[in-house]
């Protein structure tokens, strides 16, 4: 076992699917559709995701900005969206379906994050 401090069990962190859009695609959160530079549109089918799931840009401030005002790296960052799932939803079965969406280049469950530390024994008052 390598040193790590995992997320606390009680942490209220919703499961997510990390989605990279195909080049030229963006997500319009107000209309709930993906749009491409070539004028294509894709609305995810209602039954594809749990009812309370939502799709959000990973960096909302960049998603709102005009692409012409963004640097190359910033434009690249606007290709990433997150599918936020209801608590305790297993994202794995949904990932394969999302990968088949025409607007999507790749989809992955969120990384299992931890702190890169070996810890000392905690103090007792």
């Amino acid at each position: 076992m390598m040193p790590a401090v995992p997320l606390p069990r009680g942490a209220k962190i919703a499961p997510t699917i990390e989605v990279k859009l195909g080049r030229g695609w963006r997500y319009d959160p107000e209309r709930g559709v993906f749009t491409s530079e070539r004028g294509e549109q894709f609305a995810p089918p209602r039954e594809a995701l749990p009812r309370t799931a939502k799709i959000v840009p990973k960096v909302p401030s960049l998603a709102r900005a005009a692409p012409a005002r963004l640097s190359k790296a910033e434009r690249e960052l606007t290709r990433f969206v997150q599918v936020v799932l209801p608590p305790r939803t297993d994202p794995a079965p949904l990932v394969a379906a999302i990968r088949r969406w025409p607007s999507v280049e790749d989809a992955q469950p969120a990384p299992k994050v931890s702190l890169p530390s070996a810890t000392a024994r905690p103090a007792r008052g």
Binding site: M1, P3, A4, K58, P116, S117
Partner: protein
């Protein structure tokens, strides 16, 4: 030795708490030089002398001395001239027969130490630096100032733990921060550091007031809170007579949680931090996650995070990133084309073995018995990830800082301290502090900060090299340990 009566009556000093009357010696600062075994030079009055064949070595040292006003030079152990001559004869013989064993008796050893007293105490550190690395010199350092051992650090209130912060001190053991601090700006003045993780105790007594959460939500968890507090302590703990001393104590710190609107979103955390910082500031990523082999890897493995790091660095903000504790080789084919084999612009930090490196507890289930040595100093610690993108290393074991309470416990966690903070977690803030010092110095000297790529290049080029160890060859690359004294010369 001259003595002046300096009376202390229960007061806090820079060095610690003095709890009773003492008579402290008033001595000038001086430099101790240890000559190399094969160097046949010796002090003679206020100069170095040598036999004709080694005159160049003596002259090399005399040229350094000529740059300073020297009050006195003498053998450190006050040996007679005959003992110095005997040492020179042995050194000549050793130099003539490479590999010959010197008569390393106590007289020879003692005769290798020379005391040099500059007229101005302020010159001592400069003189020591100037002598370090000369061909005849094994080491040169400013002699420690004496403090009555039994009388400090025993008062009510927290003790001063700076002496346990070996990572602050001279290379090769530490990053030579303490040697650089006298330079204008070199404690991180004018630089803001943003630590990105999940929780902190911002009310800790040794943190400066005003550290703010600039985005995201803190996790309510003691383990994560201890971690964030320990990280901040290495970089910005207050420079006073209690607790620890931050590497870049004059830098401003802010914190950003990677948990935003109830989800983990490091890309947004990075971008939010970059929006609030300016050119010359520093972001620290104190997280890792499971990669495709089920081992922990650096966060830039994920495309969105890699790109967010690029966004920050192109704005002139240096990003420092923990390599992670997965014992993972980033050069494996499975990582081809991923962020673990590409340059994001970040400084990726591995965990190196510190000089004092014994496992003294079985705290993380690594299967090691207690009191096992971790290995050769500055070799890769067995858990550190490694590869071409890992740029530099720092202490990954037993770093003294805030939180946890194993060094000093108390009813309130605001007074907890540890001497066992470890992992790439403990290494990364050391490098982050070094970056802040370097940028503070650049701002003071040049009027502007350095580009992130230049900061990284300086730290890599001037650092103390990685060492191989049993089972951890140099091909398992984690890079050198920063040496701020050398790095500052490149600003």
């Amino acid at each position: 030795m001259a003595r002046a009566r300096v009376r202390h009556q229960g007061r806090v000093t820079r060095a610690g708490y003095i709890s009773a009357d003492v008579e402290a010696p008033s001595t000038p600062d001086y430099v101790v030089v240890e000559l190399k075994d094969q160097a046949p030079v010796a002090p003679a009055g206020a100069r170095f002398a040598a036999p004709a064949a080694a005159a160049a070595e003596a002259e090399d040292l005399n040229r350094v001395l000529a740059r300073f006003s020297i009050r006195a030079m003498r053998p450190q152990f006050r040996l007679p001239a005959a003992a110095l001559r005997r040492r020179v004869e042995v050194a000549v013989a050793r130099g003539a027969r490479s590999g010959a064993r010197a008569r390393a008796d106590s007289e020879f050893r003692q005769a290798s130490f020379v005391q040099i007293v500059p007229r101005r105490s302020g010159d001592a550190s400069k003189l020591a630096r100037a002598l370090q690395g000369r061909p005849a010199v094994a080491q040169a350092y400013v002699a420690p100032r004496p403090v009555p051992a039994g009388l400090s650090g025993s008062a009510a209130g927290s003790r001063l733990f700076e002496p346990a912060q070996g990572y602050l001190y001279a290379a090769p053991s530490g990053i030579a921060a303490a040697e650089a601090w006298d330079l204008a700006g070199a404690r991180g003045k004018g630089v803001t550091i943003c630590d990105i993780e999940g929780a902190w105790n911002l009310r800790h007594e040794d943190l400066p007031p005003g550290i703010s959460l600039i985005g995201g939500t803190m996790l309510a968890d003691l383990g994560w809170r201890n971690h964030g507090t320990a990280v901040l302590g290495e970089m910005v703990s207050r420079r006073d007579a209690r607790g620890t001393v931050g590497i870049s104590a004059e830098a401003k710190a802010v914190v950003q949680s990677a948990f935003i609107d109830g989800v983990f979103n490091l890309a947004a955390a990075l971008t939010n931090a970059a929006d609030r910082l300016t050119k010359g500031d520093v972001i620290l990523i104190e997280l890792q996650a499971e990669g495709p082999n089920g081992k922990y890897v650096a966060m830039q493995f994920w495309d969105d995070i890699f790109t967010a790091i690029q966004v920050a660095t192109e704005r002139g903000i240096t990003v420092v990133e923990a390599a992670g504790n997965g014992n993972e080789n980033f050069g494996l084919p499975i990582f081809n084309g991923t962020g673990l084999q590409k340059d994001s612009g970040a400084i990726v930090v591995g965990a190196g073995v510190p000089p004092a490196n014994h496992v003294d507890f079985d705290g993380f289930g690594a299967g090691l018995p207690s009191y096992t040595s971790l290995g050769v100093p500055r070799s890769r610690i067995f858990f550190s990830n490694y590869g071409k993108i890992v740029n530099v290393q720092a202490w990954g074991w037993h770093v003294t800082t805030l939180a946890y309470g194993d060094l000093q416990g108390a009813p309130s966690e605001n007074r907890w301290y540890t001497l066992r903070f470890s992992g790439t977690s403990s290494a990364s803030p050391i490098v982050t502090g070094a970056v802040a010092c370097l940028q503070g110095r650049a701002k003071a000297k040049l009027g502007h900060p350095l580009p992130p790529a230049k900061v990284r290049a300086i730290l890599m080029a001037t650092g103390t090299p990685q060492q191989p160890g049993p089972g951890v060859p140099l091909t398992q690359h984690i890079g050198p340990q920063p040496n701020l004294a050398k790095a500052m010369t490149k600003v």
